[in-house]
Symmetry: C2
Subunit: 473 residues, 2 copies
């Protein structure tokens, strides 16, 4: 939560130079690239006083940002200059790769202290990144209550609501009034979450029956019963996948939602600021998957990058070799009419692009739940019609160009038919591959591109060379 | 805001069957595909009683969802069955294409009433979709205050903070105490925003100097001065681009932020639920742009879809024709050695995929501000090294395959060199194209793919055929 961190900034002595703060960020709140060499310079000179000034002028999120722009060696040097509270904030904001690397250089004692400053969900995320040995050391160095909270969170599966939620919630029984609730909050202020947006109204079994937004509590007279101003809640089961949680938050524009365990008992809450990160993460995964990159963060090292990209290149080599085998089968025809070798890549490339367009739109429609059994038939027919129309248009264009260039009307006809039929294949593959993959529980973003580009290359070559062999040669 | 809509549901008579509510949504809160034909059936029978039941079981966001699964004709029939308050909620949630289509079938009087039920930012978005004639009619039918609010919002440029913000804010002077503030809120309850998360503390010139989260107000003793519990605020200039606003919210994990006009006066606030939509919209644009689809919503008609895809296919035809001209220049070599026609598409396809991987990662890094002047040099060098390594690996693989297939060591060497150099070109184009486009103020997602696939096709053909001509023929 940013407000905690603002607190930290305010509590610190006003040593931070106004000028430094102005310099640190550009007008759009991006970290100023010129700030990075200043930090590197202070690190090189071992000037910890200057480093304290430079870091003091930054919000923890900007320190995390700065980390990303430093080399691994510089990062390692910088870490000891971060106070435990700042270190905790920074760790919560860092990408996994950089975080794992930094965690290796922080002592278990310091880390235990930093984790104590964090919310249970963020702290659990950090502990999850530790190797087994260090994890045991760090947990042993923490107070029992904090350790238990982290261990409970880690007991939920990765990427579920249980991992996203914070266990700190504010709940009140149905029969309380506004005044009763406010008095209770003032008494318990030390034990409350730092920020909260709803007071959940619970029944005697601690099941949520409604929620009172805090702004409603504030403006209602003290004698108003909570039951009168509470609103319906959308409960999130603790084992729900985070992608579904994000979908629900986005759809109903939620600010916070209670998390319940099987049976309905309230065990925590998820707030929208956690969801913003999930939405970015999931869409990011889709973008990279569509480009054939498995996940590797911004600061993956050389080996990490290669590992994230080479597998798809190898698959691409194999499928492309199969498609090229079609060309191999028509080598005689190509030797007789080399214009076919010129036209070949154009026909397959056009089909590939048309297929990619269709499948990308389909993958996104599936991801945002806009394409399902209720409208699949209509969308498929629409895509096939679009494919035929586009194929006819582009086929005509390329056909005319072929006629102008080679003055061969039959070759132009071959090209037209090849493009038309390949666009039909592109549309068919582009719309069906994601739907079928989804139905069989696979991520449509990951494999659709392989399937569709293979289809359009294979069929593009086959159509052009096959029709040419039939009509021309 | 979902809470308002929950309110609406609660206020309505309990005519909605529990069974219908259970049926309407699947366990993951997706609209049940089986619900769509039930609605269509009631529409066909003109059974408005049944329609009221069916719609009553749905959250307004689900009604908007349902709209997307209906045909245009069914949607037109359904609209008159929506009460103005529900219509307002649904319009706020609909995609632009469907919304524009529906707006044509709603009378100005009904629309004016529906807009009155909405927040100023949502209402302005709807009015913005109206054609000039209808807009004048609708605005004339609204009360002066509401009309002024909408006109003021529309005076800000599209996709800026001014359009995103709601004008309704809660502000308090610095010298007030918690008790004073709560009393004020209770007195003014009718005029407050439906939901708010912060009370902004302002100076006499109405410039924000801090913010008190409502949860802090709730738990602090009544005599606490606001100045003591307020926190730093991140001000958003009213003309800031929405993409930058989203970046700031995400980076600092903000829940709400004050919007100020030049000079610093508070004019509104942006809340995180508006930002979730912006983040999805902006990432979505990137995904589609990378696939060569300009924006066309889920329910674009045939012409809309073709318009969104054909331009990139035509550009692709032109660039691919230029690349194919290289093949044309080597027709003699291909006639002599048709194996080159088989290998050609493999070399260019591998390069194209490697280039797409690199540029996609670069486009995302630029979008999330992880790649800028501070680390560009390091990233470029890293990408070139990765490209060379991958090129050597894949070149060796394809070289060995070539040797096995054609038993020609010199051809295998040609293939190795062609793949290696094309991967270098792919890396160079993949990392430089987005950086250069960004520097010249262009959207790197939109044109990078065209540039890079042209480079890898052109150079892939040139390398394979050129090196073959030099070494073999």
């Amino acid at each position: 939560m940013s407000r905690e961190t603002d607190d930290l900034l305010l509590k610190e002595p006003p040593e931070t130079d106004e000028d430094l703060e102005d310099l640190a960020l550009e007008e759009n709140y991006e970290l100023n690239p010129a700030y990075v060499p200043m930090v590197v310079d202070a690190l090189d000179r071992g000037d910890s006083e200057r480093l304290r000034e430079l870091l003091g002028a930054l919000h923890p999120a900007d320190v995390a940002d700065l980390m990303g722009f430093l080399s691994a060696a510089d990062r390692e040097e910088l870490v000891p200059h971060l106070q435990p509270d700042l270190l905790g904030e920074v760790l919560a904001d860092l990408d996994t790769e950089i975080r794992e690397e930094i965690l290796e250089h922080v002592s278990s004692a310091v880390l235990a202290q930093a984790l104590g400053e964090m919310e249970s969900d963020d702290a659990a995320g950090v502990v999850d990144d530790l190797d087994a040995g260090k994890r045991a050391q760090v947990l042993a160095a923490m107070p029992d209550v904090e350790r238990a909270a982290i261990e409970t969170t880690l007991a939920y599966e990765d990427e579920t609501a249980g991992r996203l939620m914070q266990r700190e919630v504010v709940a009140a029984p149905q029969f309380w009034t506004v005044g009763h609730t406010i008095d209770h909050l003032r008494r318990e202020r030390g034990d409350l979450p730092e920020l909260f947006f709803d007071v959940y109204v619970v029944d005697p079994a601690y099941k949520p029956v409604g929620a009172c937004p805090v702004s409603h509590l504030l403006r209602s007279p003290r004698d108003t019963p909570l039951a009168q101003i509470m609103e319906q809640v959308t409960e999130i089961p603790v084992d729900m996948d985070q992608e579904e949680v994000a979908y629900i938050f986005n759809k109903y524009r939620l600010i916070s939602a209670p998390v319940t365990e099987p049976g309905g008992r309230l065990v925590g809450q998820i707030t929208v600021d956690d969801i913003v990160g999930v939405i970015q993460e999931e869409t990011e995964e889709d973008i990279l998957a569509l480009a054939g990159v498995s996940d590797a963060g911004r600061d993956a090292d050389f080996a990490g990058i290669v590992r994230s990209r080479l597998p798809w290149l190898v698959i691409n080599l194999v499928t492309e070799a199969v498609a090229a085998a079609v060309v191999g089968a028509f080598q005689g025809e190509i030797a007789k009419l080399t214009a076919l070798a010129v036209l070949m890549p154009i026909v397959s490339s056009l089909g590939g692009n048309a297929g990619t367009q269709t499948l990308t739109v389909a993958v996104r429609a599936i991801a945002s739940r806009e394409l399902n059994a209720a409208n699949a038939r209509r969308v498929i027919i629409r895509e096939l019609l679009v494919g035929l129309f586009e194929g006819a248009s582009m086929g005509a264009l390329l056909g005319v160009a072929t006629w102008i260039f080679w003055h061969d009307l039959r070759l132009a006809l071959v090209v037209f038919l090849a493009v038309l039929s390949n666009f039909f294949v592109a549309a068919l593959g582009g719309i069906l591959a994601p739907i079928v993959l989804e139905r069989y529980g696979r991520d449509p973003a990951v494999s659709s591109v392989v399937v569709v580009t293979f289809m359009t290359d294979f069929f593009g070559f086959l159509a052009l060379l096959g029709i040419a062999a039939l009509i021309l040669l």
